[in-house]
């Protein structure tokens, strides 16, 4: 809730670029709540609407466990590393994997 507006400002321009792939490095993410998770779905939806994609990388284990147990990894593209995310451009990841 506290930092979400900053992220929204940062992504606002990039997300509107046609066919842009945005890789969001989450290594410093210590916590995410429902507002942040809803925001990631919104950014992902907006990106997809422009023919692009939003990919999350380096999600800390504590946060990853939470978003997995809530089911958000079924609808968000989460990769361990930036290389893995970029490699997926050639072979898109199925979110249900």
């Amino acid at each position: 809730m506290e930092n979400y507006p900053r992220l929204e400002d940062l992504l606002a321009v990039q997300i509107q670029q046609p066919h842009a792939t945005i890789v969001l490095d989450c290594k410093n993410l210590q916590y995410i709540g429902s507002i942040g998770l809803g925001g990631l779905i919104k950014f992902s939806n907006q990106s997809r609407a422009q023919g692009g994609e939003l990919k999350l990388v380096n999600v800390p284990e504590r946060v990853y466990k939470i978003i997995t147990s809530l089911g958000f990894t079924r609808v968000l593209q989460v990769y361990q590393t930036e290389d893995e995310a970029l490699a997926s451009l050639a072979s898109p990841k199925n979110c249900d994997e």
Binding site: E2, G33, S44, I66, G71
Partner: protein
């Protein structure tokens, strides 16, 4: 900064009380206090993370909705405040979160299922699901005299039995 802008803590053998202004800038501090206390009690880190997010969702909802401008507060003459009481009763952690903003019954609210909202890529409405999913019990009481209290209960996991 005056007295009403500070977090006030009371720690005792029975538990922890936190009295905080109802503003989002205090959420990070609230989370840190809840995490430290639940770790000290002996909850494993995965459960600490679940309690952290449940408490944060309740407090965020209070700040965003119960204390929204135009909402019908219980005690409109007081500044927005949140009180948290954490205590153990046998093997249960009981977290009571009290505020005097607008009433909202978390326990009775029945939004769509979370998996359906996710499937439809909804961008909001996940808070109450998270609270219910990660806590073992969720209760709610409200009165003009005492304000509104959300009561969260989490059972302390039992220790694994020693190997024979």
């Amino acid at each position: 900064m005056n007295e009403s802008d500070k977090i006030v803590l009371q720690q005792s053998a029975d538990g922890l009380s936190v009295f905080t202004p109802g503003h989002s800038c205090y959420l990070e501090q609230i989370r840190a206090l809840v995490c430290a206390h639940t770790r000290k009690i002996g909850f494993p880190e995965d459960e600490v993370a679940k309690i952290e997010i449940a408490v944060d969702e309740v407090c965020s909802n209070i700040i965003q909705h119960a204390y929204a401008t135009g909402a019908k507060w219980c005690w409109p003459d007081r500044p927005p405040e949140i009180r948290l009481n954490l205590c153990m009763e046998q093997d249960q952690l009981i977290i009571a979160i009290t505020h005097h903003g607008a009433s909202f019954d978390y326990a009775a609210d029945c939004p769509d299922r979370m998996d359906v909202r996710l499937q439809r890529l909804h961008t909001d409405g996940y808070g109450i699901f998270i609270i219910r999913k990660f806590m073992d019990e969720v209760g709610y009481t409200s009165s003009d005299a005492t304000g509104n209290t959300i009561r969260l209960i989490k059972y302390l996991p039992t220790s694994p039995s020693p190997s024979p």
